[in-house]
Symmetry: C2
Subunit: 355 residues, 2 copies
Amino acid sequence: MKRLEALKQKMVMRKKDGILVLNSANLMYLTGFPGSSALLISKDRECIVYSHDVNYEYTKRNASHLEVERIKPGENILKKIVKKAKILEIEDLVLDSATIETWNILSKLSDKNIKLEVDRSLIQDLRKIKSKKEIKQLKKAAELTIKGMQVAAETISSGIKESEVAAEIEYAIRKHDCSSMAFETIVASGKDSAFPHGGFSNKEICKGDVVVVDVGAKYNFYCSDMTRTFVVGKPSEKQKKLLQIINRSQKKALEIIKEGIEANHVDKVVRKMIEKAGYGEYFVHSLGHGVGLEVHEQPILGSKNKDKVTAGNVVTVEPGIYLVDYGGVRIEDTILIKKEGIEKLTDGIHNFELE
Amino acid sequence: MKRLEALKQKMVMRKKDGILVLNSANLMYLTGFPGSSALLISKDRECIVYSHDVNYEYTKRNASHLEVERIKPGENILKKIVKKAKILEIEDLVLDSATIETWNILSKLSDKNIKLEVDRSLIQDLRKIKSKKEIKQLKKAAELTIKGMQVAAETISSGIKESEVAAEIEYAIRKHDCSSMAFETIVASGKDSAFPHGGFSNKEICKGDVVVVDVGAKYNFYCSDMTRTFVVGKPSEKQKKLLQIINRSQKKALEIIKEGIEANHVDKVVRKMIEKAGYGEYFVHSLGHGVGLEVHEQPILGSKNKDKVTAGNVVTVEPGIYLVDYGGVRIEDTILIKKEGIEKLTDGIHNFELE
């Protein structure tokens, strides 16, 4: 597999002779299927995937390109891994992640023969740049997400419950092959829309409410993420103003974001626009985040990330304004950064006026 | 809150003067709402909940019983926590969980003034015993799960796709107030049912197939878990035999499980029954697991858990047999252990014959 080869090249460059993968999204990325427990990679020799009994047969069927080790009940997976690492003469082992307990056990088992190090960026950096095959899955996930959002636009009306709208959206998505939800749908109306991660309740949507709908379908393990803010009935002057500010902010972000620009710069420009409009303190999250096997992954479009945006990145762009005791507005699209320009993967459905 | 008081009592007993909670299910359990980032508890004084900007207003609204600290962009939450711990004169700080990175940062910040320790069981042990209020939510989740399984029984037929059945099940559950899914529904038919975590695909279900359906609804953050194995059409002699073995095994488990019995003993008895029937090596997972805020939590009914089953435990009982290149069978119910006897929270729907 190309991904494993790319990782091995990175290991050579960084003079590491072994990687132990424990994070489930990283495992999925490198093996191509879910359910394995660990992956041990030596620089120039073997790749061994470890599977607990419950998923062993599934792993064996899918991992024809890898050596599969079965972990039987009572067997200690870390013991098996360290034993193998010693046989493979791994001296510098990089972990993609570890709890303090795992770290302590590995340290003890390794004696002084294996030097351990944790580096979350090693595989994250690879995952940031999507391959053609991944982009295909992400586009399909985005198409399904748009279908769900279309249902939201058709369903939202005075008197329907938030939970009912969420059920209709998810049903429309779930009916399709290989699809599921990337996260629990948010349908937050009225004052509750002021909480960015508001979920949904059994509250009835009322005339005049803003309704923030945040939807993400998953296709073949790849996620998508999209938000629209609807208004039931004729929007008030204030609602119109807020929607205009976030619309313009998002438009600006999509104009300036491109290969080579610093991630924090895009966040900064949008933040300044919203500040200038008088709502700076109410934009309480980063401008965006990477989307792939996980719905929140690298790269983050936020104030702390000085890395450059790169072709192959798939990120959300989602300005929002949240006014406690009033309500919130947010617009979010998932986009692909290309060598030249960008491509919106989610798009359309901008009817803010619903009867 | 009672839970915080119970935890403080445990701290006194174990001579610890501070706890730092970082695990999200533990945070949910102790605060009563989702979305906070950390909770610092001192033995006899304060409880401080830490919230990042994005969830700050939501946390403030829900945490009237706690002191709320806002983490602004760029602020280091661990730095804030250690500073507070020093003010509160915490000398022994127990963490409920930690990555190696978090551990290293906390160690550095604490100097030698705060002794750190990780203990996952401290809060897990509390969570194992469900309160009356929690049991009410779990029962509601179980009711919704049964509704979903009823839809499975009505929907499964020759020619329908696994993904369509899954969509119908989830829609039936999601239509209800405050409900969502505890995990992605499994609808695995034919040979694919041999993989316990098989998910679903776009495959059409055929006459003669076994269909393993594993469903879990969530109600007000509490989970449920239930599996039935259906046969489309008249079951073959082998299918009947396999279904009979797991039915009898589950019945046996439900007969012997009670307050005071060792968890591994129940697993052992069932495993022996399946072994005796000739399928021991094909029962590739533990007999069951705890269910609560997480769908897989403590206590595990497995070979390694010598703890005694206790009144207030809510666990699954789920024997299964998985034959590669043939198919699998599993039956699973979520049950409540009482002072006297048990109560099945999921029940019914045993029609193995469907046209």
